[in-house]
């Protein structure tokens, strides 16, 4: 087996004496599509922030692409897409092209400039998410779903090995949500990019994810998506602390 893209060993994290994460062990295999589900306040976002190096664990080890996180420098190999469709400054006067270029900032590095090759990369990333015809539109004028595709392009442009998405479909209208997940599925299958998707939408798990993890302070389940669908309602409600209906998506 190849080395996992992200590996957490015995990770603990507390926030102001409140234990958020308890003894987390999690490996994200290369090329997998991991869906991370769990109730609000279960520590999903905290886990993401630990993996992104925005927080440091109280205990335990995290390694990214085989390197301990403390010495990991190649952050441009990790793409990140947040709930930005809701929270970025909509009045920001930037074109889609400019926003996607930002995905190359650290890759290009200090005292180096954006050149023709980078421009081609940006256009290519926009083609991958089917947004190239909007390249010179203002980002604020697009719909939530289109904006999220642009942010995916920004993550893609740096040739990432892993893309982390934190509830990316919040604020995206439901008609475009399916299209959005189809895009993720394609990136995972065709480009071989590993994905870590945090979501409330448990139905997505059964349709797209190759692996599923349920987090509520501790990791309650971590396996492939078939095993996940076979979990009983009782087991699921134990994880969530309340009854859940698993809706199986199919076309």
């Amino acid at each position: 087996m190849t080395e996992p893209v992200v590996s957490l060993k015995d990770v603990y994290f507390s926030y102001e004496n409140k234990r958020i994460l308890n003894n987390i062990n999690l490996d994200i295999p290369k090329g997998s599509f991991l869906g991370l589900v769990g109730p609000n306040g279960g520590g999903k976002t905290t886990l993401i922030q630990l993996i992104l190096g925005l927080l440091t664990p109280d205990q335990g080890d995290i390694s990214i692409l085989g390197q301990p996180i403390s010495t990991f420098k190649h952050w441009n190999r990790i793409g990140f897409v947040s709930q930005k469709a809701n929270s970025f400054n909509k009045g920001f006067p930037a074109t889609v092209f400019e926003v996607v270029s930002m995905g190359l900032t650290t890759k290009i590095g200090y005292f180096r400039f954006f050149n023709k090759k980078h421009k081609e990369k940006v256009i290519q990333a926009l083609q991958q998410v089917d947004m190239e015809q909007y390249a010179y539109q203002n980002i604020g004028n697009l719909s939530g779903g289109q904006q999220q595709r642009v942010f995916i392009a920004r993550a893609l442009v740096g040739d990432p090995e892993l893309i982390i998405l934190d509830e990316p479909t919040v604020g995206v209208d439901y008609k475009n949500v399916d299209r959005f997940y189809d895009l993720l599925h394609e990136l995972n299958k065709k480009e071989g990019i590993s994905l870590l998707l945090v979501t409330h939408d448990t139905g997505v798990m059964t349709k797209y994810a190759t692996n599923v993890a349920c987090l509520n302070q501790t990791l309650h389940f971590h396996g492939n998506s078939e095993e996940y669908t076979s979990l009983t309602d009782k087991e699921l409600s134990e994880i969530y602390g309340h009854p859940v209906n698993v809706i199986v998506h199919d076309h």
Partner: protein, 283 residues
């Protein structure tokens, strides 16, 4: 109208200086406005006043001072920017609290130094509202040096500053040294404010950083356009304000800012008109 400015030495320095600040103040102002930090400029300008008052006090006490008021203003402004950053990390949940603290601290210190330097005089009046005739050769060279520095640094750090301004969280996650870039940005702001004070004055310097950008925001489709339009509006306001101020014997701070406001109102009206017409054409 402009010939006086090219004819007399003291006016020539003023004229070139105003061209420089008409460039750098809106240039840096674009980042300031989109990051919603416009008030920061106000806080720093008041700290700069404290530095200027300190410089005037030194001049009074020791007739030939080793530091000009503009230079001591710069030192205070940069120190003030460091304090604001410090306060931002101490009061994480109240990020803007540093601004009123530094602003009032700046005014408080200014009052003390002004009193020690035996109160108000025309010099101080010039620093408050700007002056057509106050730019000395040393001031001009200091400001020229700063302008070159600002343009060069922005040229090299443009992509980093833009990434940081658009989305601070993403910038950090993608491995950008956000804190260091932000720090560099704040220090540049401090320098530009101190440089602009000679022409527009302490009380109106933040207007020169924000008003042209507010006008440009009405038209700009991209960030590059925002920068170009902001500089055009800024230069126009500065040059027209300086010349009209000179001929009407009004401190240029007042005329520059009023022209910038007229430009802003004009931009809003014209942009409304354009978008209404486009809507009609679509129908």
């Amino acid at each position: 109208m402009i010939e006086h400015f090219l004819q007399f030495d003291f006016l020539r320095h003023t004229f070139y200086t105003s061209l420089l600040i008409g460039l750098i103040a809106p240039l840096l102002g674009t980042f300031l406005v989109v990051r919603r930090l416009s008030l920061l400029a106000d806080a720093l300008s008041h700290v700069t006043l404290a530095g200027i008052a300190f410089g005037l006090f030194m001049e009074k006490r020791f007739t030939s001072s080793w530091i000009t008021p503009i230079q001591s203003g710069m030192v205070f402004s940069v120190i003030g920017s460091l304090f604001i950053e410090r306060l931002r990390t101490i009061y994480k949940a109240y990020q803007e609290i540093g601004i009123p603290i530094i602003l009032s601290g700046g005014v408080g210190l200014s009052v003390i130094f002004i009193a020690l330097a035996n109160g108000f005089n025309t010099d101080l009046f010039n620093y408050l509202f700007g002056s057509v005739s106050a730019v000395s050769r040393v001031d001009f060279l200091t400001i020229l040096f700063i302008a070159i520095g600002v343009v060069v640094i922005l040229f090299f750090f443009y992509k980093e500053l833009l990434t940081l301004s658009f989305d601070e969280e993403y910038a950090t996650v993608s491995g950008l040294h956000s804190k260091r870039i932000h720090f560099l940005f704040i220090v540049l702001i401090a320098f530009v404010i101190a440089a602009s004070i000679r022409i527009v004055g302490v009380l109106l310097v933040s207007a020169l950083m924000t008003l042209p950008v507010a006008s440009a925001l009405r038209f700009a489709k991209s960030f590059k356009q925002l920068i170009v339009y902001s500089i055009i509006f800024g230069e126009f306001a500065v040059v027209a304000g300086l010349i009209s101020g000179y001929y009407m014997s009004i401190p240029p701070g007042g005329t520059i800012v009023m022209i910038a406001i007229v430009l802003l109102i004009g931009s809003i009206v014209i942009q409304k008109f354009i978008s209404n017409r486009q809507r009609k054409e679509q129908k």
